[in-house]
Protein backbone atom coordinates (compact mmCIF):
# COMPACT_ATOMS: atom_id res chain seq x y z
CA UNK A 1 0.00 0.00 0.00
CA UNK A 2 1.15 3.53 -0.70
CA UNK A 3 1.41 5.91 2.17
CA UNK A 4 2.57 9.43 2.89
CA UNK A 5 5.23 10.05 5.54
CA UNK A 6 5.46 13.61 6.84
CA UNK A 7 8.21 14.97 9.04
CA UNK A 8 7.74 18.44 10.51
CA UNK A 9 9.89 20.24 13.05
CA UNK A 10 13.03 22.22 13.71
CA UNK A 11 15.83 21.51 11.28
CA UNK A 12 18.79 19.43 12.50
CA UNK A 13 21.55 17.25 11.11
CA UNK A 14 20.53 13.74 10.08
CA UNK A 15 16.74 13.91 9.94
CA UNK A 16 16.47 12.51 6.41
CA UNK A 17 19.11 9.88 7.11
CA UNK A 18 17.34 8.82 10.29
CA UNK A 19 13.88 8.51 8.77
CA UNK A 20 15.20 6.75 5.67
CA UNK A 21 17.22 4.34 7.81
CA UNK A 22 14.19 3.52 9.92
CA UNK A 23 12.02 2.92 6.85
CA UNK A 24 14.70 0.83 5.12
CA UNK A 25 15.03 -1.30 8.22
CA UNK A 26 11.36 -2.22 7.90
CA UNK A 27 11.52 -2.87 4.13
CA UNK A 28 9.54 0.26 3.31
CA UNK A 29 10.41 1.52 -0.17
CA UNK A 30 10.66 5.28 -0.74
CA UNK A 31 9.06 6.31 -4.05
CA UNK A 32 9.39 10.08 -3.87
CA UNK A 33 10.68 12.75 -1.50
CA UNK A 34 10.12 16.48 -1.30
CA UNK A 35 11.70 18.56 1.38
CA UNK A 36 11.99 22.22 2.29
CA UNK A 37 13.38 24.29 5.13
CA UNK A 38 11.58 27.55 5.82
CA UNK A 39 12.81 29.75 8.68
CA UNK A 40 14.55 26.77 10.29
CA UNK A 41 11.32 24.82 10.01
CA UNK A 42 11.95 21.46 8.39
CA UNK A 43 9.18 19.86 6.31
CA UNK A 44 9.69 16.58 4.50
CA UNK A 45 7.03 14.64 2.64
CA UNK A 46 7.68 11.14 1.33
CA UNK A 47 5.59 8.84 -0.78
CA UNK A 48 6.37 5.28 0.31
CA UNK A 49 5.31 1.74 -0.50
CA UNK A 50 4.66 -0.45 2.53
CA UNK A 51 3.78 -3.64 0.61
CA UNK A 52 6.87 -5.48 1.91
CA UNK A 53 6.91 -3.86 5.34
CA UNK A 54 7.65 -6.35 8.10
CA UNK A 55 5.52 -4.55 10.72
CA UNK A 56 1.76 -4.03 10.91
CA UNK A 57 0.93 -0.50 9.76
CA UNK A 58 -0.07 0.72 13.23
CA UNK A 59 3.24 -0.41 14.74
CA UNK A 60 5.22 1.25 11.95
CA UNK A 61 3.28 4.46 12.65
CA UNK A 62 4.04 4.15 16.39
CA UNK A 63 7.73 3.58 15.72
CA UNK A 64 7.98 6.62 13.44
CA UNK A 65 6.10 8.77 15.94
CA UNK A 66 8.32 7.68 18.81
CA UNK A 67 11.47 8.28 16.76
CA UNK A 68 10.21 11.77 15.94
CA UNK A 69 9.20 12.60 19.48
CA UNK A 70 12.66 11.75 20.79
CA UNK A 71 14.00 14.44 18.43
CA UNK A 72 11.26 17.03 18.83
CA UNK A 73 9.78 16.24 15.42
CA UNK A 74 6.26 15.37 14.35
CA UNK A 75 6.55 12.24 12.21
CA UNK A 76 3.51 10.47 10.86
CA UNK A 77 2.57 7.97 8.22
CA UNK A 78 -0.88 7.94 6.65
CA UNK A 79 -2.49 5.94 3.88
CA UNK A 80 -2.47 8.07 0.73
CA UNK A 81 -6.23 7.53 0.39
CA UNK A 82 -7.04 10.23 2.96
CA UNK A 83 -5.26 12.88 0.86
CA UNK A 84 -6.77 11.63 -2.39
CA UNK A 85 -10.23 11.61 -0.85
CA UNK A 86 -9.93 15.08 0.56
CA UNK A 87 -8.33 16.86 -2.37
CA UNK A 88 -9.34 14.96 -5.53
CA UNK A 89 -12.80 14.39 -6.93
Amino acid sequence: MRAIVTVIGKDAVGIIAGVCGLLAGQQVNILDISQTVMQEYFTMIMLVDTARCSLPFGELADELRAWGESRGLSVRIQHEDIFNAMHRI
Partner: protein
Protein backbone atom coordinates in the same frame (compact mmCIF):
# COMPACT_ATOMS: atom_id res chain seq x y z
CA UNK B 1 4.50 13.74 -5.38
CA UNK B 2 2.80 12.94 -8.61
CA UNK B 3 -0.78 13.09 -7.43
CA UNK B 4 -1.08 15.20 -4.33
CA UNK B 5 0.97 18.32 -3.73
CA UNK B 6 2.77 19.19 -0.53
CA UNK B 7 0.44 22.07 0.27
CA UNK B 8 -2.58 19.77 0.22
CA UNK B 9 -0.86 17.20 2.40
CA UNK B 10 0.12 19.81 4.96
CA UNK B 11 -3.39 21.31 4.86
CA UNK B 12 -4.87 17.93 5.78
CA UNK B 13 -2.37 17.48 8.60
CA UNK B 14 -3.08 20.97 9.97
CA UNK B 15 -6.81 20.23 9.96
CA UNK B 16 -6.26 17.10 12.03
CA UNK B 17 -3.47 18.44 14.24
CA UNK B 18 -4.52 22.00 14.98
CA UNK B 19 -8.16 22.33 13.94
CA UNK B 20 -9.73 19.30 15.63
CA UNK B 21 -10.77 17.55 12.42
CA UNK B 22 -12.00 14.12 13.35
CA UNK B 23 -14.59 11.53 12.52
CA UNK B 24 -17.08 12.00 15.31
CA UNK B 25 -18.61 8.55 15.16
CA UNK B 26 -18.73 5.29 13.31
CA UNK B 27 -22.06 3.79 14.32
CA UNK B 28 -23.19 0.29 13.45
CA UNK B 29 -26.94 -0.09 13.16
CA UNK B 30 -28.19 -3.56 14.06
CA UNK B 31 -31.70 -4.92 13.62
CA UNK B 32 -32.97 -6.71 16.71
CA UNK B 33 -36.36 -7.61 15.24
CA UNK B 34 -35.48 -11.30 15.36
CA UNK B 35 -34.80 -11.13 19.12
CA UNK B 36 -38.46 -10.94 20.14
CA UNK B 37 -39.49 -13.47 22.77
CA UNK B 38 -42.39 -13.88 25.17
CA UNK B 39 -39.92 -14.26 28.03
CA UNK B 40 -38.16 -10.97 28.81
CA UNK B 41 -35.02 -12.66 30.13
CA UNK B 42 -34.79 -14.83 27.02
CA UNK B 43 -35.30 -11.70 24.88
CA UNK B 44 -32.48 -9.98 26.79
CA UNK B 45 -30.15 -12.92 26.11
CA UNK B 46 -30.97 -12.84 22.40
CA UNK B 47 -30.31 -9.08 22.33
CA UNK B 48 -26.94 -9.52 24.04
CA UNK B 49 -25.95 -12.33 21.69
CA UNK B 50 -27.04 -10.55 18.53
CA UNK B 51 -25.28 -7.29 19.37
CA UNK B 52 -22.02 -8.90 20.46
CA UNK B 53 -22.03 -11.21 17.44
CA UNK B 54 -22.78 -8.40 14.98
CA UNK B 55 -20.44 -5.73 16.36
CA UNK B 56 -17.54 -7.71 17.80
CA UNK B 57 -15.09 -6.38 15.17
CA UNK B 58 -16.43 -2.81 15.08
CA UNK B 59 -14.01 -1.14 17.49
CA UNK B 60 -10.93 -3.03 16.29
CA UNK B 61 -11.73 -2.23 12.65
CA UNK B 62 -12.40 1.44 13.36
CA UNK B 63 -9.10 1.65 15.26
CA UNK B 64 -7.25 0.11 12.32
CA UNK B 65 -8.75 2.67 9.95
CA UNK B 66 -7.91 5.43 12.43
CA UNK B 67 -4.29 4.31 12.47
CA UNK B 68 -3.92 3.87 8.71
CA UNK B 69 -5.54 7.14 7.73
CA UNK B 70 -4.07 9.05 10.65
CA UNK B 71 -7.38 10.64 11.64
CA UNK B 72 -9.06 10.18 15.03
CA UNK B 73 -12.39 8.33 15.08
CA UNK B 74 -13.61 9.69 18.38
CA UNK B 75 -16.57 7.41 19.02
CA UNK B 76 -17.52 3.91 18.02
CA UNK B 77 -21.17 3.25 18.69
CA UNK B 78 -24.10 0.95 18.12
CA UNK B 79 -27.73 1.72 17.31
CA UNK B 80 -30.47 -0.89 17.47
CA UNK B 81 -34.10 -1.36 16.54
CA UNK B 82 -36.40 0.66 18.82
CA UNK B 83 -36.68 -1.60 21.84
CA UNK B 84 -40.44 -1.05 22.16
CA UNK B 85 -40.78 -3.06 18.91
CA UNK B 86 -38.43 -5.80 20.09
CA UNK B 87 -39.98 -6.01 23.55
CA UNK B 88 -43.59 -5.98 22.35
CA UNK B 89 -43.77 -9.77 22.45
CA UNK B 90 -42.51 -9.92 26.06
CA UNK B 91 -45.00 -10.58 28.82
CA UNK B 92 -43.39 -8.04 31.12
CA UNK B 93 -44.23 -4.67 32.61
CA UNK B 94 -40.64 -3.44 32.41
CA UNK B 95 -37.98 -3.40 29.71
CA UNK B 96 -35.17 -2.55 32.12
CA UNK B 97 -33.75 -6.10 31.65
CA UNK B 98 -33.45 -5.34 27.92
CA UNK B 99 -31.60 -2.09 28.67
CA UNK B 100 -29.19 -4.02 30.92
CA UNK B 101 -28.55 -6.49 28.09
CA UNK B 102 -27.81 -3.61 25.71
CA UNK B 103 -25.48 -2.07 28.27
CA UNK B 104 -23.54 -5.30 28.80
CA UNK B 105 -23.30 -5.92 25.06
CA UNK B 106 -22.07 -2.37 24.42
CA UNK B 107 -19.42 -2.65 27.14
CA UNK B 108 -18.24 -6.02 25.81
CA UNK B 109 -17.99 -4.63 22.27
CA UNK B 110 -15.96 -1.68 23.59
CA UNK B 111 -18.29 1.04 22.26
CA UNK B 112 -19.00 4.13 24.32
CA UNK B 113 -22.76 4.42 23.72
CA UNK B 114 -25.59 2.29 22.41
CA UNK B 115 -28.79 3.93 21.20
CA UNK B 116 -32.23 2.52 20.59
CA UNK B 117 -33.98 2.22 23.94
CA UNK B 118 -36.68 3.94 21.96
CA UNK B 119 -40.35 4.20 21.13
CA UNK B 120 -42.05 5.83 18.16
CA UNK B 121 -45.36 7.21 19.38
CA UNK B 122 -45.99 10.17 17.07
CA UNK B 123 -49.53 9.05 16.33
CA UNK B 124 -50.23 6.91 19.35
CA UNK B 125 -48.65 4.50 21.77
CA UNK B 126 -48.94 0.72 21.91
CA UNK B 127 -48.87 -1.12 25.24
CA UNK B 128 -45.21 -1.89 24.52
CA UNK B 129 -44.45 1.80 23.82
CA UNK B 130 -45.94 2.74 27.19
CA UNK B 131 -43.95 0.01 28.93
CA UNK B 132 -40.78 1.31 27.33
CA UNK B 133 -41.46 4.93 28.22
CA UNK B 134 -42.20 3.96 31.84
CA UNK B 135 -38.94 1.97 31.93
CA UNK B 136 -36.77 4.89 30.77
CA UNK B 137 -35.89 6.52 34.12
CA UNK B 138 -34.79 3.27 35.75
CA UNK B 139 -33.09 2.03 32.57
CA UNK B 140 -31.01 5.21 32.27
CA UNK B 141 -30.17 5.25 35.96
CA UNK B 142 -29.09 1.61 36.02
CA UNK B 143 -27.04 1.55 32.84
CA UNK B 144 -24.01 3.51 31.72
CA UNK B 145 -24.01 3.31 27.95
CA UNK B 146 -27.67 3.03 26.96
CA UNK B 147 -29.35 5.99 25.25
CA UNK B 148 -33.09 6.41 24.98
CA UNK B 149 -35.29 8.37 22.60
CA UNK B 150 -38.98 8.87 22.02
CA UNK B 151 -40.50 10.28 18.84
CA UNK B 152 -43.58 12.28 19.84
CA UNK B 153 -44.51 13.99 16.60
CA UNK B 154 -44.19 14.07 12.84
CA UNK B 155 -45.19 16.32 9.97
CA UNK B 156 -47.53 13.63 8.65
CA UNK B 157 -49.25 12.73 11.89
CA UNK B 158 -49.04 15.78 14.14
CA UNK B 159 -47.96 15.81 17.78
CA UNK B 160 -49.01 13.24 20.35
CA UNK B 161 -49.59 15.56 23.31
CA UNK B 162 -50.28 12.69 25.72
CA UNK B 163 -46.75 11.48 24.99
CA UNK B 164 -45.41 15.04 25.33
CA UNK B 165 -47.04 15.32 28.76
CA UNK B 166 -45.63 11.96 29.82
CA UNK B 167 -42.10 12.83 28.63
CA UNK B 168 -42.05 15.91 30.88
CA UNK B 169 -42.62 13.59 33.84
CA UNK B 170 -40.15 10.98 32.54
CA UNK B 171 -37.42 13.62 32.23
CA UNK B 172 -38.06 14.77 35.81
CA UNK B 173 -37.94 11.17 37.09
CA UNK B 174 -34.78 10.42 35.14
CA UNK B 175 -33.11 13.49 36.65
CA UNK B 176 -34.25 12.46 40.15
CA UNK B 177 -32.89 8.92 39.78
CA UNK B 178 -29.51 10.27 38.64
CA UNK B 179 -29.48 13.28 40.99
CA UNK B 180 -26.08 12.28 42.41
CA UNK B 181 -24.61 12.93 38.96
CA UNK B 182 -26.33 16.21 38.16
CA UNK B 183 -29.23 14.50 36.42
CA UNK B 184 -26.85 12.77 34.02
CA UNK B 185 -29.51 10.28 32.90
CA UNK B 186 -31.24 13.10 31.01
CA UNK B 187 -28.13 13.58 28.86
CA UNK B 188 -28.92 10.13 27.44
CA UNK B 189 -32.56 10.90 26.62
CA UNK B 190 -33.88 12.68 23.53
CA UNK B 191 -37.46 13.58 22.64
CA UNK B 192 -37.88 13.89 18.88
CA UNK B 193 -40.23 15.17 16.26
CA UNK B 194 -39.61 13.65 12.80
CA UNK B 195 -36.89 11.31 14.13
CA UNK B 196 -34.70 9.79 11.42
CA UNK B 197 -33.99 6.07 11.10
CA UNK B 198 -30.30 6.27 10.23
CA UNK B 199 -28.91 8.85 12.66
CA UNK B 200 -25.41 7.88 13.86
CA UNK B 201 -25.29 10.50 16.64
CA UNK B 202 -26.20 9.97 20.27
CA UNK B 203 -28.26 10.14 22.27
CA UNK B 204 -30.90 9.91 19.53
CA UNK B 205 -29.58 7.06 17.38
CA UNK B 206 -31.76 4.06 16.64
CA UNK B 207 -31.86 1.57 13.79
CA UNK B 208 -35.16 2.16 12.01
CA UNK B 209 -37.43 -0.54 10.66
CA UNK B 210 -36.76 0.56 7.08
CA UNK B 211 -33.06 -0.22 7.55
CA UNK B 212 -31.24 -3.40 6.51
CA UNK B 213 -30.04 -6.10 8.90
CA UNK B 214 -26.92 -4.05 9.66
CA UNK B 215 -25.59 -0.71 8.41
CA UNK B 216 -22.55 1.50 8.92
CA UNK B 217 -23.40 5.17 9.44
CA UNK B 218 -20.72 7.80 9.92
CA UNK B 219 -20.92 11.23 11.51
CA UNK B 220 -18.26 13.77 10.63
CA UNK B 221 -17.20 16.81 12.56
CA UNK B 222 -15.16 19.88 11.96
CA UNK B 223 -16.32 23.21 13.45
CA UNK B 224 -12.66 23.98 14.10
CA UNK B 225 -11.79 23.58 10.43
CA UNK B 226 -14.63 25.88 9.33
CA UNK B 227 -13.68 28.43 12.00
CA UNK B 228 -10.11 28.42 10.78
CA UNK B 229 -11.11 28.69 7.12
CA UNK B 230 -13.04 31.89 7.92
CA UNK B 231 -9.98 33.49 9.49
CA UNK B 232 -8.94 35.02 6.18
CA UNK B 233 -12.43 36.17 5.26
CA UNK B 234 -12.63 39.30 7.38
CA UNK B 235 -14.94 41.95 5.92
CA UNK B 236 -15.87 39.83 2.89
CA UNK B 237 -19.51 39.56 1.84
CA UNK B 238 -21.57 36.68 3.18
CA UNK B 239 -21.83 34.87 -0.13
CA UNK B 240 -18.05 34.58 -0.07
CA UNK B 241 -18.30 33.22 3.47
CA UNK B 242 -20.85 30.66 2.31
CA UNK B 243 -18.56 29.56 -0.52
CA UNK B 244 -15.67 29.01 1.89
CA UNK B 245 -17.87 26.99 4.26
CA UNK B 246 -19.04 24.86 1.34
CA UNK B 247 -15.53 24.05 0.22
CA UNK B 248 -14.46 23.23 3.74
CA UNK B 249 -17.50 21.02 4.31
CA UNK B 250 -16.64 19.18 1.11
CA UNK B 251 -13.14 18.33 2.38
CA UNK B 252 -14.45 17.22 5.76
CA UNK B 253 -17.19 15.07 4.32
CA UNK B 254 -14.89 13.35 1.84
CA UNK B 255 -12.94 11.96 4.76
CA UNK B 256 -16.19 10.77 6.33
CA UNK B 257 -17.14 9.05 3.10
CA UNK B 258 -13.74 7.34 2.91
CA UNK B 259 -13.99 6.11 6.51
CA UNK B 260 -17.54 4.89 5.94
CA UNK B 261 -16.56 3.00 2.78
CA UNK B 262 -13.54 1.41 4.45
CA UNK B 263 -15.46 0.40 7.57
CA UNK B 264 -18.24 -1.02 5.42
CA UNK B 265 -15.82 -3.03 3.27
CA UNK B 266 -13.76 -4.39 6.13
CA UNK B 267 -16.74 -5.32 8.28
CA UNK B 268 -18.80 -6.68 5.41
CA UNK B 269 -21.67 -4.44 6.51
CA UNK B 270 -23.54 -2.21 4.01
CA UNK B 271 -22.65 1.47 4.03
CA UNK B 272 -25.69 3.43 5.15
CA UNK B 273 -25.10 7.16 5.23
CA UNK B 274 -22.69 9.94 6.05
CA UNK B 275 -24.26 12.48 8.38
CA UNK B 276 -23.19 15.97 7.27
CA UNK B 277 -22.96 17.56 10.63
CA UNK B 278 -20.90 20.19 12.33
CA UNK B 279 -20.66 18.62 15.76
CA UNK B 280 -18.86 20.79 18.30
CA UNK B 281 -16.89 19.65 21.34
CA UNK B 282 -16.16 21.53 24.56
CA UNK B 283 -12.55 21.98 23.36
CA UNK B 284 -11.47 25.55 22.59
CA UNK B 285 -11.38 25.97 18.81
CA UNK B 286 -14.08 23.39 18.06
CA UNK B 287 -17.18 25.51 18.56
CA UNK B 288 -20.12 26.30 16.28
CA UNK B 289 -20.87 29.46 18.30
CA UNK B 290 -17.39 30.81 17.57
CA UNK B 291 -17.97 30.34 13.82
CA UNK B 292 -21.07 32.54 14.07
CA UNK B 293 -19.09 35.11 16.05
CA UNK B 294 -16.32 35.05 13.45
CA UNK B 295 -18.94 35.98 10.86
CA UNK B 296 -19.31 39.23 12.76
CA UNK B 297 -21.59 38.69 15.76
CA UNK B 298 -20.17 39.95 19.02
CA UNK B 299 -21.79 37.12 20.99
CA UNK B 300 -23.70 34.05 19.87
CA UNK B 301 -27.32 34.49 20.86
CA UNK B 302 -27.59 38.15 19.92
CA UNK B 303 -29.63 39.48 17.00
CA UNK B 304 -28.31 38.12 13.70
CA UNK B 305 -27.51 34.71 15.17
CA UNK B 306 -30.37 32.91 13.41
CA UNK B 307 -29.37 34.37 10.04
CA UNK B 308 -25.71 33.48 10.49
CA UNK B 309 -26.63 29.96 11.52
CA UNK B 310 -28.97 29.55 8.55
CA UNK B 311 -26.10 30.43 6.22
CA UNK B 312 -23.71 28.06 7.98
CA UNK B 313 -26.15 25.16 8.07
CA UNK B 314 -27.08 25.45 4.43
CA UNK B 315 -23.50 25.82 3.22
CA UNK B 316 -22.41 22.74 5.19
CA UNK B 317 -25.09 20.70 3.43
CA UNK B 318 -24.32 22.10 -0.02
CA UNK B 319 -20.63 21.37 0.38
CA UNK B 320 -21.12 17.98 1.94
CA UNK B 321 -23.76 16.55 -0.31
CA UNK B 322 -21.46 16.18 -3.31
CA UNK B 323 -18.72 14.65 -1.19
CA UNK B 324 -20.73 11.59 -0.23
CA UNK B 325 -22.61 9.00 -2.23
CA UNK B 326 -25.28 8.73 0.45
CA UNK B 327 -26.19 11.47 2.86
CA UNK B 328 -28.65 11.10 5.70
CA UNK B 329 -29.02 11.15 9.45
CA UNK B 330 -29.52 14.56 11.00
CA UNK B 331 -27.18 16.47 8.64
CA UNK B 332 -26.79 20.04 9.86
CA UNK B 333 -24.93 22.14 12.38
CA UNK B 334 -25.54 21.01 15.96
CA UNK B 335 -25.99 23.47 18.78
CA UNK B 336 -25.66 21.42 21.98
CA UNK B 337 -25.05 24.07 24.60
CA UNK B 338 -22.97 22.08 27.10
CA UNK B 339 -20.82 20.59 24.33
CA UNK B 340 -19.81 23.86 22.69
CA UNK B 341 -17.27 26.14 24.33
CA UNK B 342 -18.67 29.29 22.70
CA UNK B 343 -22.29 28.41 23.53
CA UNK B 344 -21.32 27.81 27.16
CA UNK B 345 -19.64 31.22 27.30
CA UNK B 346 -22.62 32.94 25.64
CA UNK B 347 -25.08 31.22 28.01
CA UNK B 348 -22.99 32.23 31.04
CA UNK B 349 -23.09 35.83 29.88
CA UNK B 350 -26.87 35.56 29.70
CA UNK B 351 -26.86 36.47 26.01
CA UNK B 352 -27.80 33.03 24.74
CA UNK B 353 -31.20 32.09 26.10
CA UNK B 354 -33.71 29.34 25.55
CA UNK B 355 -35.94 31.51 23.36
CA UNK B 356 -33.09 32.34 20.98
CA UNK B 357 -31.97 28.72 20.91
CA UNK B 358 -35.50 27.75 19.96
CA UNK B 359 -35.41 30.21 17.06
CA UNK B 360 -32.03 28.88 15.99
CA UNK B 361 -33.42 25.35 15.78
CA UNK B 362 -35.74 26.51 12.99
CA UNK B 363 -32.74 26.77 10.69
CA UNK B 364 -30.33 24.10 11.87
CA UNK B 365 -30.00 20.62 13.28
CA UNK B 366 -31.31 19.44 15.74
CA UNK B 367 -32.98 21.17 18.64
CA UNK B 368 -32.77 22.30 22.24
CA UNK B 369 -29.81 20.12 23.04
CA UNK B 370 -27.86 19.55 26.25
CA UNK B 371 -29.40 22.44 28.10
CA UNK B 372 -29.46 22.46 31.89
CA UNK B 373 -32.52 24.10 33.45
CA UNK B 374 -33.41 24.62 37.12
CA UNK B 375 -34.08 21.36 38.94
CA UNK B 376 -37.45 22.56 40.19
CA UNK B 377 -38.82 23.23 36.68
CA UNK B 378 -42.32 21.67 36.63
CA UNK B 379 -42.87 18.65 34.37
CA UNK B 380 -45.58 20.60 32.54
CA UNK B 381 -43.08 23.35 31.66
CA UNK B 382 -40.65 20.75 30.30
CA UNK B 383 -43.53 19.28 28.29
CA UNK B 384 -44.42 22.73 26.97
CA UNK B 385 -40.82 23.26 25.84
CA UNK B 386 -40.96 19.86 24.09
CA UNK B 387 -44.28 20.82 22.46
CA UNK B 388 -42.84 24.12 21.15
CA UNK B 389 -39.82 22.38 19.70
CA UNK B 390 -41.89 19.56 18.19
CA UNK B 391 -44.17 22.16 16.61
CA UNK B 392 -41.17 23.73 14.86
CA UNK B 393 -40.17 20.33 13.50
CA UNK B 394 -43.69 19.38 12.52
CA UNK B 395 -44.48 22.59 10.64
CA UNK B 396 -41.09 22.89 8.95
CA UNK B 397 -40.84 19.19 8.02
CA UNK B 398 -37.51 18.81 9.77
CA UNK B 399 -36.15 16.84 12.69
CA UNK B 400 -36.22 18.63 16.00
CA UNK B 401 -35.26 17.30 19.39
CA UNK B 402 -35.18 18.20 23.04
CA UNK B 403 -32.50 17.03 25.45
CA UNK B 404 -33.00 18.98 28.66
CA UNK B 405 -31.41 18.34 32.02
CA UNK B 406 -33.47 19.67 34.96
CA UNK B 407 -30.43 19.59 37.23
CA UNK B 408 -31.58 18.46 40.69
CA UNK B 409 -31.11 21.08 43.39
CA UNK B 410 -29.61 23.58 40.96
CA UNK B 411 -30.64 27.10 40.06
CA UNK B 412 -29.82 29.63 37.36
CA UNK B 413 -26.16 30.57 37.82
CA UNK B 414 -25.11 27.06 38.86
CA UNK B 415 -23.14 24.83 36.52
CA UNK B 416 -23.47 21.10 35.89
CA UNK B 417 -20.29 19.24 34.97
CA UNK B 418 -20.81 16.14 32.85
CA UNK B 419 -17.22 15.80 31.72
CA UNK B 420 -15.83 14.50 28.46
CA UNK B 421 -17.70 15.25 25.25
CA UNK B 422 -20.89 16.06 27.18
CA UNK B 423 -19.15 19.06 28.68
CA UNK B 424 -20.35 21.73 31.08
CA UNK B 425 -23.89 23.08 31.29
CA UNK B 426 -24.65 26.46 32.85
CA UNK B 427 -28.19 26.27 34.26
CA UNK B 428 -30.36 28.46 32.02
CA UNK B 429 -33.58 30.21 32.97
CA UNK B 430 -36.99 29.04 31.76
CA UNK B 431 -40.16 31.11 31.75
CA UNK B 432 -41.91 30.92 35.12
CA UNK B 433 -45.41 31.22 33.65
CA UNK B 434 -47.32 27.94 33.81
CA UNK B 435 -48.43 25.83 30.84
CA UNK B 436 -50.01 23.28 33.16
CA UNK B 437 -53.55 23.56 31.82
CA UNK B 438 -52.38 23.44 28.20
CA UNK B 439 -50.35 20.28 28.74
CA UNK B 440 -53.06 18.66 30.89
CA UNK B 441 -55.45 18.73 27.92
CA UNK B 442 -53.55 15.91 26.20
CA UNK B 443 -54.83 14.63 22.87
CA UNK B 444 -53.18 15.45 19.59
CA UNK B 445 -52.12 18.52 17.69
CA UNK B 446 -53.32 17.71 14.15
CA UNK B 447 -50.86 17.40 11.29
CA UNK B 448 -50.25 20.73 9.57
CA UNK B 449 -51.16 21.88 6.08
CA UNK B 450 -48.49 21.21 3.50
CA UNK B 451 -49.53 24.03 1.21
CA UNK B 452 -50.33 27.72 1.86
CA UNK B 453 -46.91 27.81 3.52
CA UNK B 454 -46.83 31.23 5.14
Amino acid sequence: MAMINSGEILQTIRMIDQQHLDIRTVTMGISLLDCADADVQRCAEKIYDKITRSARDLVRTAEEIESELGIPIVNKRISVTPIALVGAACRSDSYVPLARAMDRAAADCGVNFIGGFSALVHKGATAADLTLIRSIPEALAETELVCASVNVGSTKSGINMDAVAEMGRVIRQTAALTADRGGFGCAKLVVFCNAVEDNPFMAGAFHGVGEPERAINVGVSGPGVVYHALQDMQGQPLDAVAETVKKTAFHITRVGQLVAQEASRRLGVPFGIVDLSLAPTPAVGDSVARILERMGLSTCGGHGTTAALALLNDAVKKGGVMASSSVGGLSGAFIPVSEDEGMIAAARKGVLRLDKLEAMTCVCSVGLDMIAIPGDTPASTISAIIADEAAIGMVNAKTTAVRLIPAPGMQVGDTVEFGGLLGTAPVMPVHAESAEAFIARGGRIPAPMQSLKN
